[in-house]
Symmetry: C2
Amino acid sequence: MTGRQASPSLAGAEDPIVFVIDDDSSVREALSSLFRSVGLRVEAFGSAHEFLQLKLPNVPSCLILDIRLPRVSGLDFQAELAKADIHIPVIFMTGHGDIPMTVRAMKAGAVDFLTKPFRDQDMLDAVTAAIERDRNSRDEAKVLSNLHELFATLTPRERQVMALVTTGLMNKQIAAEIGLAEITVKIHRGHIMRKMGAKSLPDLVRMAELLGIGPASGQPQT
Amino acid sequence: MTGRQASPSLAGAEDPIVFVIDDDSSVREALSSLFRSVGLRVEAFGSAHEFLQLKLPNVPSCLILDIRLPRVSGLDFQAELAKADIHIPVIFMTGHGDIPMTVRAMKAGAVDFLTKPFRDQDMLDAVTAAIERDRNSRDEAKVLSNLHELFATLTPRERQVMALVTTGLMNKQIAAEIGLAEITVKIHRGHIMRKMGAKSLPDLVRMAELLGIGPASGQPQT
DNA sequence: TGCGATCCTAAACGTCTGTATGATCCGCTC
DNA sequence: GAGCGGATCATACAGACGTTTAGGATCGCA
């Protein structure tokens, strides 16, 4: 039970959140104070483990990590997150980091890498950029997820036909390709358009592009 | 030395090239030797200015920069290249760089940032990655350039119709939209397909996507 | 065993597309 | 002024598309 309920009046679930992981409580407090002063929600943790206990809310957010965490290093934790398919923009801070560390972090997609002591404004700028990046990737992910949801309602046959349709083949060619009557392809095609919510063929083509549907990288068919 | 013609038999213009800029001739020679030992073409320069005199060949390549160049810093030079629309993967090396420099370089798209002394293998790995990245972006650029060439042969009216067609509108809707007879739209449409070399509507739609063509609501660029 | 989902097909009809053929008009260039 | 590319439109026709109506077949599951 997370007994936190700061603003009961507002839904609040749409506001960005900044997560902070640092074993130094004074750092946590300083950062929390900084972010709250600009109206950002903050959740601070003393270790990576504590952070992982949390169920991440579906709002734009970012993670501020000290390179030197209690058990695992910040870099390793960043890699862990990626492996666990947890995508959140990371901002590193360090008191005594080196260049190879920095390179590794940035290559792994870190938004920024700040050296202590840093200026408050630099941190805020980094957080703003990170939140914005997360907002965009969440938007994209949502669109994609909706598409996948629709695509999941297609039967195997319909998916197969969709791939061929969006390739540009005519109904009769598709029919010949998979050994059906042309009329049957038309029926499937109609179902596909309705289920996917496509208002036109170009619409469907763009959906297929986003879904990564092609003749080669499609679904293995029976 | 422009008199280089190592392999007269082969065209050679397809081989990747590594450009090196360092004011220390011993570094230039060491790197040149290293890269040649693995079969890479190398061109070394003592200053950024010299490098800019060169007309860059259209082959996969990358640029190795010392952060501390004679006049401008490596970072500034990287920014200059971007501003001059010269896109080439950059690998930095430095004897005494700091973290902010590293962050700036990586944010600006550097492939790697090596601290001297570095292991030969690390440099070779970075160069391999950089060349590969450049190869990919050149491939994409070529496809896009070919498309733009085709698109340039369209008349203004045809471009307008193409935008509407790929949006998913029917001929009669397009006709109403721009005040034409449906038959005229069909004619334009036929010309578009022929000029663009599209074998099907999905084909044309994908071209339009790459070209960033939409009804003023295309892809946000830059 | 019956129901529903999936898959297949046919006939029919209306709409949309694509491509001719032929023609007029405009603006520009040689 | 003749020629040319661009744009426009009409008529006509063949082919492609999409939907409806009306079946029949298989399979898994309640």
